[in-house]
Amino acid sequence: MKTTVSRRTFIKGGLAGTVVATVLPEKKSQAATFEGYPDGMGVLVDLTRCVGCRSCEAACNEEQKLPQPDKPFDDFSVFDEIHHGQKRRTDETRYTVVNRYDVPGLDHPLFRKIQCNHCQEPACLTSCFVNAYTKTPEGAVIYNPNVCVGCRTCMIACPFNIPTFKYSSAFNPRIMKCIFCYDTRLKEGRPPACVEACPQEALTFGKRNKLLEIGRQRIRETPDKYEDHIYGEHEVGGTAWMYLSSVPFDQVGFDTHVPKEPILNYVKDFLGIVPMVLTVWPALFAGFHLLATRKDWLKNKNEDTHEEE
């Protein structure tokens, strides 16, 4: 009779394997201390400067060869549009959108441009199980449609609701989002099309570290003009696109409840267990099952042999 592993040894081994697998990922992944690429570029958006001319939207449409809009880019009636109770948002036809905010007590409206904020540690990237997303050393979060399976987890993961799905091509899945003009401009060190188009220099392009200096200088030298906060400096672990505002950020549509650390940190511990669960557990529980049913199996086998005799 061939030697079989005793039940006790098997369970011991299985448990030991589980413990080892749980302990091993303790070696911190690099992501835990990643503070962004040192020379990563970014854009500082100054809401006090934006006049809502929509030049950035027009330039983006042209640069990214997006479909023709419903209304011309010099039509300002779009600021009154409400879809499903919300102001305009990015979708498969537009990577950036400017919205108007009428802030109580302010004699003029404020405008806020939205696009991908190009997080230092992007949640879309973390959530994507086919690695369709890449954070480039230049600062852009880019997307590879060739590997995308269209699961749309990134759309759920993004704290800013930026990635959108191209529903018009569901069989050739494609996420549509701002890529910081990576292919055509950023890669060569040039600013994205929206920045170049902005007449008011409401968009300042530069190294992220330098933009923080500029932002702090503006706040320090004209403290009456600005909220003492750079949105995106720490939000979700820091973003490449950051904002200055003259009014509290929640009054101009910003989510001020996003965490100050990367979304990844909230799921890392859990995600670390997943490989262990997927590899060790099936073997362990299959073993339990086989051991538990071994007696029956032996009994059946014996009965079979008796019958044959």
């Binding site: 400067r49 027009a58 809009p69 209304k71 039509d75 007449p199 220099e201």
Partner: protein
């Protein structure tokens, strides 16, 4: 007395030194020296240039409001006073001499990496024009619409997809917006 003599000498020395070192009052430009109109068109592409009525603007604004410290006028911005209180008239008062037209180019960005540079946030030429003009127009009730100052060119109509490049009724349609 020796001490009194010394004191007199010292006082005299300080007085003479003071006069010699007294900063020469910076020369100041006169509004009357300025041109009647300035054609602002070096960046014109999507919009035509602006025929800026300089004479009219000198009547409603002081030189320093637009030209900062360069015309030698009295600087009032507390941030500028720190260095430019007595810097006098500059060699040039033209916007484009200080505000680069290639803002955000590699060259422009690397120049701003200089750790000794204070003006890390100096707007480019296009930004300087618009921030100067629009900000004041908003405050004083001047024209603020894009085409109030410069008409859109054909290239502009193409980019903004308006005018002859406007979306037609048939292809437009209601956008769902998801």
């Amino acid at each position: 007395m020796r001490t009194r003599k010394k004191m007199l000498q010292a006082t005299l020395a300080i007085a003479i030194g003071g006069i010699l070192l007294w900063p020469e009052p910076g020369r100041t430009m006169e509004a009357a020296d300025a041109p009647e109109t300035v054609e602002i068109n070096s960046l014109a592409r999507l919009y035509s240039g602006v025929d800026f009525n300089h004479a009219m603007h000198t009547e409603i604004a002081s030189c320093v409001q637009c030209h900062h410290h360069t015309t030698g006028g009295e600087v009032t911005d507390p941030n500028c006073i720190r260095c430019h209180a007595k810097s006098g008239e500059a060699d040039t008062v033209s916007c484009k001499e200080c505000h680069s037209s290639d803002r955000f180019s590699k060259d422009d960005l690397s120049k701003r990496d200089n750790p000794a540079l204070y003006h890390i946030d100096k707007p480019g030429l296009k930004g300087a024009y618009h921030l100067n003009c629009v900000t004041c127009h908003q405050k004083t009730g001047g024209p603020t619409g894009c085409q109030d100052c410069h008409t859109m060119t054909e290239a502009g109509e193409k980019m903004f997809q308006t005018g002859q490049h406007a979306p037609s009724e048939t292809t437009g349609g209601e956008h769902s917006g998801h």
